[in-house]
């Protein structure tokens, strides 16, 4: 298939886990691990899907999401948000900021896979 997923997340172990799960399903996984230049990473990779952590060093995931949505090129790119905070207000914020889907850590691997497939499928 060769569809690209950009994973923006700072915990190395979580990066490794998600990369493992998705690449076995045939996705090309690219990773980025801090908030400052997340947008440059998005522009450079032009992913089909973005998985975005909320608590990133340098910049909040919500802010990055807003930047993505403000860029016409990526306004329609599906974004899956991951958070470890799990409060309802975070979910609302994510949806208002334009997240395509929202998941709370810890997640089942199958759920992530299902969500990614659902978001990218035509």
């Amino acid at each position: 298939m060769g569809k690209t997923v950009l994973l923006i997340e700072d915990e190395p172990n979580i990066i490794e886990a998600v990369s493992f799960i998705l690449s076995r399903d045939g996705w090309e996984v690219k990773t980025h691990s801090n908030g400052h230049d997340a947008m440059q990473a998005v522009r450079a990779r032009v992913p089909d899907l973005i998985i975005l952590d909320v608590m990133l060093p340098g910049k909040s995931g919500f802010d990055i999401l807003a930047e993505i949505r403000n860029d016409a090129q990526f306004a329609e790119t599906p974004v899956l948000m991951l958070t470890a905070r799990g409060q309802t207000k975070d979910r609302e914020m994510a949806e208002r900021a334009g997240a395509s889907h929202y998941m709370t850590k810890p997640f089942a691997n199958a759920e992530v896979l299902a969500a990614v497939r659902a978001l990218v499928a035509p």
Binding site: D10, E11, N13, I14, E16, A17, V18, F20, I21, R24, M55, P57, G58, S60, A84, R85, G86, Q87, T104, K105, P106, F107, A108, N109, A110
Partner: protein, 893 residues
């Protein structure tokens, strides 16, 4: 040797003696000795400048002309003094608490620091006092002349004018020497006051001696003297009721309002308590001064040839009888009366002239540019000295121009009516909060004009200043504006006439305009402070550091005093204020204390200016330096006192706001607590779950993959456990359930261990002073090491210095062993300093690792160990101070 030469010699010796007394008193006061200088009796005696040469010579003359009427001049002050509980007590309290320097200052300060009012009062006071000073010069020259007349044959008649010149010059020199030694409003003129007290004794003794001589020497006993009085022209008590009551009131009013009386009574007052003694001692003094006046007058009228000047009976009666010694004593009495009056009047008036006229003009002209160079002090002193010389010279000039004639004799009462104009604004200001500046100006203006027109100008005689036509037909020919019969009040005694109309119009205008006008806020505030002075006697002076930044002050103080001493000072004050840490509220008390401490290092002026710069936030104000340089200290103090109230409110509000902010921050943290715990727990759990699912669901994993993923699961489990441990640790510490494992060890080894355990080698340079670390400790060493490790690890995580350096310094402070950890980074921003010790607080959102529990745990540990860990503000980078009670260390030795 002629008697005149003896007289001159005695006179010179007496003056030298007075210089010596004044000098010795100043020296004693300077050395902090001489509690006798502050005796209530010295205070009482200094009040006797009320009795000038006009009393010493003039009272007898007054009695010879009008009988017993003269006592009214002394009964008035007696009643005021006996009634000290009403007015004097309040005047003295206000004067002391507001650091008042003169009556002009009091009135201007009460009415919102109005300089216009001060100038007005000053001008009026100078006009009123100048003839009075001339009168003193005249009395000295006349008494000299009386001696000279006995030697007319010898042909040594001295020139009257040259006598007056010598006396005036001598007085000016004395006053400048002892009256302008220092500028500090708090400093009193001990030398001058002491000299005046001595002169008070001399004049009382001289008058009593002459009295005793007249009654028992010339007259032959009490009964004979009484018989002589009964047979004399003044045998009958023919005093009109209006003059009796009017003069008593007038003298009482003048006693309160005369600038020289205000100087000794309020400005030179050492202790309010002195009033209690003066309340009975001063009336007694006045009574003794008056006791022999009528006998001397009656005997003089009887024995002296017709046409002899009764004003000089005190001198001429002993001379006539050949008692030269007594005559010289009497002369010294008169000399003392004259000189003490001129000295104090010159000091009082020069203070007013220089503070309210010369200095404001100079400051305006120089535009405050010379402020910085610090020659304000010099200019203020010069202004005071020139003013003294000017005032004495003015008196001399008046004496010369008036020709020393009879015009001067009446000037005493005229002058009294002039200064009595101060009474309505003065009393109104002390007792009525509704009194306003406009009212005071109106009243003073009206009273001053009526006095000038009805009494002062006519006193020069018809056609001298006022043309004859005005006397007869009134101003512009209006009949009811005749200066001796205003509003048709004909046939009145001129003094009573002027007193009645001037005080009536003054008080009326004052009250009416006060009722109609609206005071400025500064007036209302001053009014409340004056009228209610007993409710809140404010401490004079002082800083109100509403806007002072404590941290700025600490930084500045560290530069001057050295870091440790400054920190101790600040910490001590903060503790007294019930605050933790090193930053006390910049309260007035604290700023005053700080200024005192700093002035020990850099001098008072610089200290004041430096604090002024930080407290004021702007450049040094004109007022600040004025306060240092001049008695005009109050100029600044009024405004600061006025601001004190509002700043106090602002400070309270700020404290509340800070408390509220902290509560809100803590509440946000408490709210975020679950969210934080959730995040910290979920992150490792995510990895664990993900990899365990991978291990479970993936069949074709390589062995390496299997073992790698298993070890990730293991590491994350450890991380979870550590977090739970921290939480439990904190909970145990917070609940006080911790068991301390006390051991003894060396601080240097403990630090070595901590540096190793923090695992920071190569990442941050650590600078230590091992010599100072040779200290044995008996405490829970593991817990203490935990604190050190945390602080070192924090420095590694947060220090952004290039290259990062952590300095560890050990020392002692206030019975505490202190270990400072300072890095060269950018430090903790002030708004974060108050929360860094709270749970889950991290600087910024940076995930530098850790859950934000470290410092909270450190603080709890140190509290258990009996010490403290605190943030040390005002350093270059982040600095933490660990302190331990010293006995922990002593126990080991």
């Amino acid at each position: 040797m002629s008697i005149l030469n003896v007289l001159i010699l005695v006179c010179v010796l007496y003056v030298v003696f007075l210089f010596a007394v004044a000098f010795a008193a100043d020296r004693a006061a300077l050395r902090g000795q001489g509690s006798w200088l502050r005796s209530p009796y010295v205070y009482t005696l200094s009040l006797s400048i009320y009795c000038t040469a006009w009393t010493f010579y003039g009272a007898v003359g007054f009695a010879a002309r009008s009988g017993l009427e003269f006592v009214t001049i002394y009964i008035g002050p007696t009643l005021v003094m006996v009634g000290w509980w009403w007015t004097l007590r309040k005047m003295v309290r206000v004067g002391r608490s507001q650091r008042i320097t003169s009556i002009a200052d009091l009135i201007s300060s009460r009415y919102g620091k109005s300089n216009l009012l001060a100038v007005f009062v000053t001008v009026l006071a100078v006009i009123g006092a100048t003839p009075y000073i001339a009168l003193q010069l005249q009395s000295v020259t006349l008494s000299f002349a009386a001696f000279a007349e006995t030697e007319v044959a010898a042909g040594t008649m001295p020139d009257m004018q040259s006598t007056a010149v010598w006396v005036a010059a001598g007085l000016a020199v004395f006053t400048i020497l002892f009256g302008t030694r220092n500028l500090d409003a708090n400093e009193r003129h001990h030398g001058v006051v002491m000299a005046i007290a001595v002169e008070a004794v001399v004049k009382l003794f001289a008058l009593l001696a002459v009295g005793v001589f007249v009654v028992w020497g010339l007259s032959g006993g009490v009964a004979e003297t009484l018989a002589r009085i009964d047979a004399s022209e003044i045998a009958r008590f023919e005093v009109t009721g209006s003059r009796w009551v009017g003069l008593t009131m007038l003298s009482g009013m003048a006693f309160l309002c005369l600038p020289r009386m205000f100087q000794v009574m309020v400005v030179e007052n050492e202790d309010e308590d002195h009033l209690r003694t003066a309340a009975w001692a001063f009336p007694t003094y006045l009574m003794l001064m008056s006791l022999f006046v009528v006998p001397i007058a009656a005997v003089g009228l009887d024995l002296m040839p017709n046409g002899a000047n009764p004003d000089l009976f005190v001198l001429t009666l002993p001379l006539m009888d050949g008692r030269d010694g007594l005559a010289i004593l009497s002369f010294l009495g008169g000399f003392s009366s004259a000189t003490s009056m001129v000295i104090v009047a010159a000091i009082a008036l020069s203070t007013m002239v220089s503070n309210h006229m010369v200095m404001p003009i100079w400051l305006y002209v120089s535009g405050g540019a010379a402020m910085v160079s610090g020659d304000v002090r010099h200019v203020a002193l010069l202004a005071r000295r020139l003013s003294i010389a000017g005032i004495v010279f003015l008196g001399y000039l008046y004496f010369r121009l008036s020709g020393g004639g009879t015009a001067l004799a009446a000037i005493g009462l005229i002058s009294f009516v002039g200064v009595a104009q101060f009474l309505p604004p003065l009393m109104g200001g002390l007792f009525w909060r509704g009194a306003t500046r406009s009212g005071a100006l109106t009243g003073l203006g009206l009273g001053f004009f009526v006095w000038l027109y009805c009494l002062f100008l006519p006193s020069f005689g018809p056609s001298v200043v006022l043309p004859q036509a005005v006397f007869e037909n009134g101003l512009w020919g209006i009949g009811w504006l005749r200066p001796r019969a205003m509003f048709g009040a004909e046939g009145m005694d001129p003094v009573m006439h002027a007193l009645l109309w001037s005080i009536l119009l003054n008080a009326g205008g004052f009250v009416l305009v006060s009722l109609l006008s609206f005071p400025k806020p500064i007036e209302r505030l001053q009014g409340a402070q004056f009228v209610n002075v007993f409710e809140h006697s404010p401490t004079p002076g002082g800083w109100t550091g509403g806007m002072a930044q404590s941290e700025d002050l600490l930084v500045m103080s560290q530069r001057i005093l050295g870091a440790r001493e400054a920190q101790n000072l600040f910490e001590g004050v903060a503790k007294r204020q019930g605050l933790a840490g090193y930053l006390p509220e910049p309260s007035p008390d604290f700023l005053q204390e700080l200024e005192r401490v700093l002035s020990g290092s850099v001098g008072a002026a610089t200290a004041h200016a430096m604090i002024g710069q930080i407290v004021g936030g702007a450049a040094v104000s004109v007022e600040d330096l004025m306060a240092v340089a001049d008695e005009a200290a109050q100029i600044m103090e009024y405004s600061s006192q006025l601001e004190a109230k509002s700043q106090e409110l602002a400070r309270t509000a700020r404290q509340l706001r800070q408390a509220n902010e902290k509560l809100t921050q803590i509440s946000v943290q408490k709210d975020g607590f679950l969210s934080q715990i959730s995040h910290e727990l979920r992150t490792p759990m995510t990895s664990i779950r993900a990899f365990s699912e991978i291990l479970r669901d993936t069949d074709d994993l390589t062995l390496e993959e299997q073992s790698k993923y298993a070890s990730i699961i293991h590491d994350e489990s450890v991380r979870l456990t550590r977090l739970l441990d921290d939480l439990l640790d904190l909970s145990v510490l917070e609940n006080g359930q911790v068991v301390l494992n006390t051991q003894t060890g060396r601080l240097s080894e403990l630090l070595d261990r901590a540096v190793r355990a923090a695992g920071v080698q190569g990442e941050i340079r650590i600078e230590r002073d091992r010599a100072s670390e040779v200290v044995d400790l008996t405490t829970d060493l593991d817990r203490l090491a935990q604190v050190f490790i945390n602080l070192i690890a924090n420095a590694r995580k947060y220090c952004d210095g290039r290259p990062p350096i952590l300095t560890i310094r050990v020392g002692q402070s206030d019975g505490q062993l202190v270990i400072d950890f300072k890095d060269n980074g950018s430090g903790v921003p002030p708004e974060k300093q108050s929360v860094i010790f709270e749970k889950f607080s991290r600087i910024g959102e940076t995930k530098a690792g850790g859950a934000g529990l470290g410092l909270a745990i450190c603080r709890e540990i140190m509290a258990r160990l009996g010490g403290d860990v605190s943030y040390l503000p005002g350093q270059k980078g982040a600095a933490f101070r660990v302190s331990l009670p010293i006995e922990t260390r002593m126990a080991a030795q």
